[in-house]
Amino acid sequence: MDIQAEVIRACGKIIDADFRQDIVALDYVRNVRLHQGHLQFDLVIPTPLFPSKMLLREETLKGVRDLPGVSSVEVRLISEIRGQRQDAIAGVKNIIAIGSGKGGVGKSTVAVNLAVGLAKYGARVGLVDGDVYGPTLPIMLGVQDAGLMQNEKGIIPIEAHGVRLMSMGLLARGSTPLIWRGPMAHKAIQDALLHVDWGECDYLIVDMPPGTGDVHLTLVQTVPVTGAVIVSTPQDVGMIISMKTYRLFEQTKVPLLGMIENMSYHHCTHCGARDEIFGHGRVRIEAEGLGVPFLGEIPLVRQMREQADLGMPAVVLTDTPMAACYLDILGRLTAEVHLAQRRAIPVIEEAAEEAETFSV
């Protein structure tokens, strides 16, 4: 009996909900071995988020334990984050832009927590503060006083909570404003992407400023962005402006990885009652209407703001509703990143020497 074939057949019925595909088609099942009734194999998942795959592992165990000749089963989860082939920033596998239309929707807070969340589960993560005029990320990560150093490869990003950060806020410190015209902002964002020693990086997250301006165009023209996430509040005015950002990504062929509803609801600090301050559910409806994945909703929580001001992103704490909320979103996001890689543009190749008779 061919145990490999039996395992593949059994696993072919197990669906990874994030991808809506079976785990054989997704190429998870590897290294199948059977030794004296003990079946061993690996599930190679394209995300660092093991918790989101524990159920899948359980399901897989159940699916194979009754195969003939099998008395015990051991399934190892192995994370292998794949990336797009690109030459713009060596060592960086995936570039994710976090955008919004309107300012003040909590985009930077979301970007920081997504980055720290990914790092917490073992991914190598870089974070670029795309807001050259109002950089807040150094404060949220508690490194506003850190000094930048340089090596022969470029600026060394500042590491905080497992994330490598590059921000204009690390150059113009304190209350010093940067009073720049567009071309300077363009140059600054190019430097922050290309002249930084990112090292090996699974995900490079770019927190974009609000709107659709220089920084956005520079980003999409300088590097092959794997995909973008739009953060919006459920409030109408926020949604309408977010649509402009959606069009920007659409026109520049940046795949939309999904939309997140921030400030989705608020639990009263005193009585615990739920209050939908900005309305609720509008982002999900818009995303579904556009055929874009809805990644999840994040409530408005006082603790979140307090922690951000202290430089302690909410996701650092485990076993909080907020951490669970982000874990959920990251599961879907990393799945979408993996799917987007398959749609990326091919690398330009030099054709092999051929008969020139083919040319016109």
Binding site: V220, Q221, T252, I348, E354
Partner: protein
């Protein structure tokens, strides 16, 4: 998103560029032809769309150098003349495919299907 998606992009020496699209269609462009179709603001009036470049003025011996991807949506080409400011969106490249079939469809006014 309905837009042409390339699955292979090849540079044929300094003479030509070829693209295979997702629908299987293969396009091949001479660099001189691409230079004549440059969409940049110096070659096409931004407001009126009126061509500012006389195609006959493009040198016959023009060649192409480096091709760089522009994000996920287009290509930038450094020509020997040495113009390099046009961004060739994949939409544009698909629309100006010089093959017989595409030219015929264009003259008959039939709408070409998007390749995605």
């Amino acid at each position: 998103m309905l837009s042409p998606t390339p699955v292979a992009i090849k540079k044929h020496g300094r003479q030509a560029l070829s693209i295979v699209w997702k629908d299987g269609h293969a396009s091949r462009y001479d660099f001189r032809y691409l230079r004549q179709k440059c969409p940049c603001a110096a070659c096409v009036d931004e407001l009126t769309g009126r061509p500012l470049l006389d195609p006959e003025q493009v040198p016959l011996d023009l060649t192409g150098g480096a091709i760089t991807p522009v994000g996920q949506y287009g290509l930038s080409i450094a020509f020997s003349d040495p113009h390099a400011s046009g961004i060739y969106h994949f939409d544009l490249l698909r629309a100006i495919c010089p093959c017989e079939r595409c030219k015929e469809e264009e003259t008959h006014g039939t709408h070409r299907r998007n390749s995605d």
